[in-house]
Symmetry: C2
């Protein structure tokens, strides 16, 4: 009988969001009259920008003619898109990132898990706690961890607690690690890192020959002009970091699907035989062999994000969600709840009242206010006693949800 990858058997029962969906479904079936408001999963709700829609329709018209038809595109993405990304997202902020270093993909979730394909089995891996579950689960599935303990911590991983005490940006590890996952603005805590904080990480990585996997999926939500949007704003980052970006949250592409990964030329790793190998070449080979590029139609939609109209429409979307975040912060604070995040990120991270545990507060909020959030413990053991609310919803729903919470 064909042998399976037994590492999957180490995974804890369910990915966080399916478990939330299961509880919501059960509640909803038992209480069909309840008007549930979902501030749980970080999914956008507002219409796709008009510039993107117009561009995609134009692409579809092209595909209806023999001259304008596009078959297989470059696995790395079309150059016209990669050049706009390089210029607008990176070079305009002083980052030395070229179009060649940008790999367009169908999602940051895919890229941040697929990146393990090109990395070896001997790396010591550090993740923050709490953390976006995909970083951990993809390592478990790839056999880079031991078994989980009762708190859900996997053997072999280095967990870096992010707490109120360290401003939710994690301490630099005292031991040597080889791979570090960082996400700023942070999912789930909504924290953000300063240039000085990121410089400390880059300095650590260079001193320890470590690789930083930097997830910047929420960079568009940064409001403070002094804060870095990209790891490549930090001196030396090209020698030690890969960055993930997405159109999901800024342009509302969660259902349209487009993202990108930056792998700098000259960024090196080491094979088990000691040979130095360029990661760009490995990722390029991986994408050419195991991926066929993003839909031409979708890439034209992503390109429109960089038009004058597209930029204005994306900024309006971001501003809308950030106003929601401000309302959530204000109302929860007025209700006597301690809140974090939500100022440079679309997530508000709150301390559960009366020392409730995270799932207890989830059930309480669902049962009493019919509001769905995300239990902090679902993101890691150090998230216990915390809870995430997302600013992705209509103004009306956010205000209604906050009214219900204040009434509790």
């Amino acid at each position: 009988m064909a042998q399976v990858n037994g590492n999957y058997l180490k995974l804890k029962a369910g990915y966080l969001f399916p478990e939330i969906a299961r509880r919501v479904k059960a509640f909803s079936e038992a209480n069909p009259e309840a008007q549930i408001i979902r501030l749980g999963i970080g999914d956008v709700t507002e219409p796709l920008p008009e510039a993107c829609r117009t561009a995609m329709k134009g692409a579809i018209d092209e595909m209806g003619t023999r001259e304008g038809f596009h078959g297989y595109g470059p696995e790395q993405g079309y150059l016209w898109l990669r050049e706009k990304i390089a210029a607008s997202d990176f070079q305009a902020r002083g980052c030395q990132v070229s179009a060649e270093e940008i790999f367009v993909s169908d999602g940051s979730k895919c890229d941040s898990s697929n990146i393990l394909d090109i990395l070896g089995e001997g790396n010591r891996i550090a993740v923050t706690d709490p953390v976006y579950p995909v970083y951990v689960d993809s390592n478990v599935m790839a056999g880079r961890t031991g078994d989980a303990d009762d708190a859900g911590r996997y053997g072999g991983l280095t967990y870096l607690p992010i707490t109120a005490a360290n401003g939710f940006t994690a301490e630099i590890p005292t031991e040597k690690v080889d791979l570090i996952y960082l996400c700023f603005p942070n999912n789930p805590t909504g924290a953000v890192a300063t240039k000085a904080q990121l410089q400390a990480w880059v300095d650590y990585a260079r001193a320890n020959d470590a690789l930083i996997l930097f997830d910047a999926a929420y960079e568009a939500f940064i409001q403070d002009p002094e804060l870095p949007h990209s790891i490549y704003e930090i001196e030396g980052a090209r020698e030690c970091a890969i960055e993930f970006r997405s159109f999901s949250k800024n342009a509302g592409f969660t259902g349209t699907r487009c993202a990108l990964t930056v792998v700098p030329r000259g960024l090196m790793g080491t094979a088990a035989n000691g040979e130095r190998v360029e990661l760009w070449a490995l990722w390029n080979r991986r994408q050419c062999t195991k991926f066929n590029g993003v839909s031409y139609i979708v890439q034209r939609g992503a390109e429109a994000v960089y038009s004058v109209e597209g930029q204005a429409q994306v900024q309006a979307l971001v501003a809308f969600y950030m106003q929601n975040a401000a309302i959530i912060r204000r109302e929860l604070t007025a209700a006597g709840i301690q809140v974090y995040g939500g100022e440079q990120a679309p997530y508000v991270w709150l301390k559960t009242p009366e020392n409730m545990d995270s799932w207890g507060f989830f059930d309480h909020l669902l049962g009493k206010a019919h509001v769905v959030g995300t239990p902090g413990s679902g993101f890691g053991a150090a998230g216990e006693g915390y809870f995430r609310l997302s600013a992705f919803n209509s103004r009306e729903n956010v205000q209604e949800a906050m009214g219900r919470i204040r009434a509790l």
Copy 2:
């Protein structure tokens, strides 16, 4: 320094198609006046069906409203699409495949390489020779092979020659293997398997507890009503086979991106500790963790393939390309070249004249007729002395290319 996956260093210099692109570019730069006709890579050329374009535009309009907006969809694909696929592609042909067993994805290339994520390292793997290079390269990258020999054969793999002598359908192996990659209609030879031939494979797999990975990306091109389109038309296949399908070639989605994989419920594998594990559950977990579903817009386009208009438009596309294949077969035969395939598949597989080797014939054809094909040796050692021509092009280009070849 971060350790890389050293298995990538075992890969031969280039994936086949980039090497072709390199030679064509060099020739084109040296001969800017040459009108090159590309019958190499299997990429479609004709416009996207109108039914698909109309449906995608409708989906874009929906995305422009708050009520019709679609964010994250199910990682497995929308049920309305999975149900149509199950009914039309499988149940209508007597296959017991349910919507739940269908996983919609962005490409068969992705799925047929990602499937290794859920399979163990101890499997003995069989591939045909010649073979679609992705099956081999993805195994090399995942560390399931040894090094390559001078002929390009990797240690640890079982190669099953497909030749004129066995009708290009491969002999059942005499040794025990655990995983078998089969592709019918075949890429690159254009051969097709009968029900009796597939039954022999299924019987072998069941007797040997082996898993068949069946690639049916070209099933729409089958003309003979007696031939099976799906492995699940074969008794017992649900217990031993996973099937890959694509919208790339039937509906011209190579640049639009949609495909699917069928994993039957109850299909089992074994973990190293002897535990029996359902492959459906592993693939479902893999997709939920490492993939975020296909663009809503694209899924609406794929759904339109199953409408009355969509079916008529897809059948017209298939008929058009198959007429090209018939022209290629007829003209090459008249030129004294031995041809295979091209009757139930969009590929014609030819014996190179005068015992030229495959790359020699490639250079000859490019240099003298300005026609690009694919060297058989690029698909495996047993493909040496063969050459693939694709029927994917305009009528005018196919006729012009054949005229030039006859004139040689």
